[in-house]
C-alpha cells in the first residue's frame, strides 16, 4: 500500500478561546476521492482552509496538531506559497478575476514559471478539458470571463486551480449553487482526476457524496465544536453507519 499523501493528525482550530474543530485525524491517499459531509457549521470549510493554510495565515485562527504532506510537516518545513501550489483549494463561490478566460486560467501559474505562448495554449486547453469546460469556451478564450454563467465560472476557477498542477485538490461545496449540467460535468472531471491526484471534497449533497466518493468523513457539531464522528468506505457510511448521529444524518432516522 502506498503511503498517504496527506496525513491530518489531532487537528485543532480555535478562534480566540472558541474551538471550531477538535481532534480531526484522517489520511488522504493517492487515487482516492474523500468527501466530508455534515451539517453546516460543523467546521468542514475550516478543515480545508487549515490544510491550505488560509486559516492561520489569512483568517488569524490558531491551528495546532499536525498536517503532513508527503511526509513533511506543513507548518514547519513547507514554504506556504509552494504548498498552496501543491494543495489547491476551489472555493464555494467562484471568484473570477477581471479580464479574459485565458488570463483567468493563467492567473496563478504565470507567477510560478515563465511559459512560451505555445505552452500556455497547450496548458489552457489541457486544464479546460480536465475541468470539462473547453468545448463551451474554446471559441471565446479572449472574451471577458465575467460573462460566463455561474456554473461555467466555477469550472473556470477549477481549471485555474488545476493549472498550477496540484497533487491534492480541496473543493469546498463547489457545486452548491450550480445548475445540474455544471454539477455533472464537475463530478465527471473529479472522477477522471482521481487517478492522478488526491481529492478532498466537501459536499452538502448526500447524493453527490454517494455517487463519487471512495471514502467518507462525517462531521458533526453536536458537542459545540466540529469533530469527526465517523469515517470509512463509502458503502459503510451510507449503508451501515455505526454512530447514531451518522445514522440520523445519512439515513434520516
Amino acid at each position: 500500500m502506498t503511503p498517504p499523501v496527506l496525513q491530518v493528525q489531532q487537528l485543532h482550530v480555535t478562534a480566540g478561546d472558541q474551538s471550531i474543530v477538535r481532534d480531526v485525524t484522517f489520511d488522504l491517499s493517492r487515487g482516492e476521492l474523500t468527501t466530508i459531509i455534515g451539517p453546516s457549521g460543523s467546521g468542514k470549510s475550516t478543515i480545508l482552509r487549515a490544510i491550505n493554510r488560509l486559516a492561520d495565515k489569512e483568517s488569524g485562527l490558531q491551528v495546532s496538531g499536525s498536517i503532513r504532506y508527503k511526509g513533511c510537516d506543513v507548518f514547519r518545513c513547507c514554504p506556504v506559497n509552494e504548498l498552496r501550489r501543491d494543495i489547491s483549494l476551489v472555493f464555494q463561490k467562484p471568484c473570477i478575476f477581471p479580464g479574459s478566460i485565458r488570463r483567468n486560467v493563467l492567473f496563478g501559474v504565470r507567477h510560478h514559471q515563465p511559459m512560451s505562448r505555445t505552452r500556455q495554449n497547450d496548458l489552457i486547453e489541457k486544464v479546460l478539458r480536465q475541468a470539462h469546460l473547453f468545448k463551451e469556451v474554446k471559441d471565446r478564450l479572449n472574451k471577458p470571463a465575467h460573462l460566463l454563467s455561474i456554473g461555467q465560472k466555477q469550472r473556470l476557477a477549477f481549471a485555474r486551480s488545476l493549472a498550477v498542477n496540484p497533487a491534492v485538490i480541496l473543493l469546498d461545496e463547489p457545486t452548491s449553487s450550480l445548475d445540474p449540467h455544471s454539477t455533472i460535468e464537475i463530478e465527471k472531471a473529479l472522477r477522471e482526476l482521481k487517478s492522478t491526484c488526491s481529492i478532498l471534497l466537501v459536499t452538502h449533497s448526500l447524493e453527490q457524496g454517494r455517487r463519487i466518493s471512495d471514502r467518507v468523513i462525517f462531521m458533526s457539531n453536536s458537542q459545540g465544536f466540529g469533530t469527526i464522528v465517523e469515517q470509512g468506505a463509502v458503502e459503510q457510511i451510507f449503508e451501515n453507519p455505526q454512530h447514531p448521529d451518522t445514522q440520523q444524518y445519512v439515513l434520516n432516522r
Partner: protein
C-alpha cells in the same frame, strides 16, 4: 398641520436656504474671477514672460514654475503614498500599528499649510542651507497632500472584496505578487482620484511655498537645487494683489487667478471619471 410636519418643513427650508446661499457665494466668486479675469486673459498672456514687474507681459514662467512644483509633488507623492497604503492594508492588518498610522495620517491631514511652510523654512531653507528651492516646494506640497492620497488609496484597497485576495493567495501567489496583480490594479481609480484631488490642492497653495520655494521675479527655469526658486501662479496673484493701487496689476492678478482656476478645473475634470469608479474592474459574480 402637525408639529412634526411643521418641524420637517422648517428644517427643509433652513437647509435649502443655506445651500442656496452657499451656492450663491460660490457663483459670485466664480463670476468675479471670470468677469475680471477674462479681459486680461489671452494666449499671449499665458505664454509671454512677465514684464514691468507684472504690470505688463504674461505669466509664462509662473506657469512653468507651477508645473514644475506640480510634477515634483506628483513624483514624490506617488511612491510614498503607494508604500504607505500597501503597508497599511497588507502588512498591518487589524493591528494597533495600523490604527496609529491611520490616526497620524488624519492628524497630518488637518495641519494648516502655513505650518508646512514654517517647517520647510527652518529645515530646508535654513538648516540644510538650500535657500529657496523648487525642490523644497515639491517636498512640502507632497507632504501636505500625502495623507489625502494615501488614505483614499488604502480606502480603495480595503474595498476590494477579500475573496479576491484569498483566491490569489490560495493559488500560491506571494503577498508581493498579490499586491501587484490584484491590489494595485483594482484600486487604480481611487488612487488616481485621490492623487488628482491632492494635486488640485497643491497647485493652488501659497503658504507652504512662499518662503521656501517661490519668488515674485527673477527666476526662470531652475538649473539645480540649492538657491533655485521658481515663479508660481499663486504667489504671483498674492503679490500683485498687494499692489492693488495699480489697475494693471489688479487686472493681471485676476487673469492669473482665472488661469489657475482653469488648471484646477482641468485636474478636477480629469479626476471625475475615476471618482465615479468608471474604471472599476472587478465585476462581482
Amino acid at each position: 398641520m402637525t408639529i412634526r410636519l411643521f418641524k420637517q418643513r422648517i428644517f427643509y427650508a433652513v437647509s435649502a436656504a443655506s445651500a442656496l446661499m452657499l451656492m450663491g457665494l460660490v457663483a459670485l466668486a466664480l463670476y468675479l474671477v471670470i468677469a475680471r479675469g477674462i479681459p486680461a486673459l489671452s494666449f499671449s498672456f499665458a505664454l509671454q514672460p512677465m514684464a514691468e514687474g507684472g504690470l505688463s507681459g504674461g505669466v509664462r514662467h509662473q506657469m512653468i514654475g507651477s508645473l514644475i512644483l506640480l510634477i515634483t509633488t506628483l513624483v514624490l507623492v506617488v511612491p510614498v503614498a503607494l508604500s504607505i497604503a500597501i503597508v497599511h492594508t497588507v502588512y498591518l492588518r487589524e493591528s494597533s500599528v495600523q490604527k496609529s498610522l491611520s490616526l497620524i495620517l488624519h492628524v497630518l491631514n488637518g495641519i494648516p499649510s502655513i505650518i508646512f511652510g514654517l517647517f520647510g523654512f527652518f529645515v530646508f531653507v535654513k538648516f540644510l542651507g538650500w535657500g529657496k528651492s523648487w525642490f523644497t516646494g515639491g517636498i512640502l506640497l507632497s507632504m501636505m497632500i500625502l495623507p489625502t492620497v494615501a488614505l483614499t488609496l488604502s480606502e480603495g484597497m480595503r474595498r476590494i472584496p477579500h475573496e479576491y485576495i484569498e483566491n490569489a493567495r490560495s493559488l500560491g501567489l506571494s503577498k508581493e505578487q498579490m499586491v501587484i496583480s490584484i491590489l494595485i490594479p483594482q484600486s487604480a481609480s481611487s488612487f488616481l482620484s485621490g492623487l488628482l484631488l491632492g494635486l488640485v490642492r497643491a497647485v493652488g497653495e501659497t503658504a507652504p511655498i512662499m518662503f521656501t520655494a517661490t519668488v515674485f521675479s527673477g527666476a526662470t527655469v531652475p538649473n539645480g537645487i540649492v538657491d533655485n526658486p521658481v515663479l508660481s501662479l499663486p504667489y504671483h496673484i498674492f503679490t500683485l494683489t498687494q499692489e492693488s493701487y495699480q489697475a494693471k496689476a489688479v487686472q493681471n492678478a485676476w487673469g492669473s487667478a482665472c488661469l489657475l482656476l482653469l488648471i484646477v478645473f482641468g485636474l478636477n475634470a480629469l479626476a471625475t471619471p475615476f471618482r465615479m469608479n468608471a474604471f472599476e474592474e472587478i465585476k462581482t459574480a
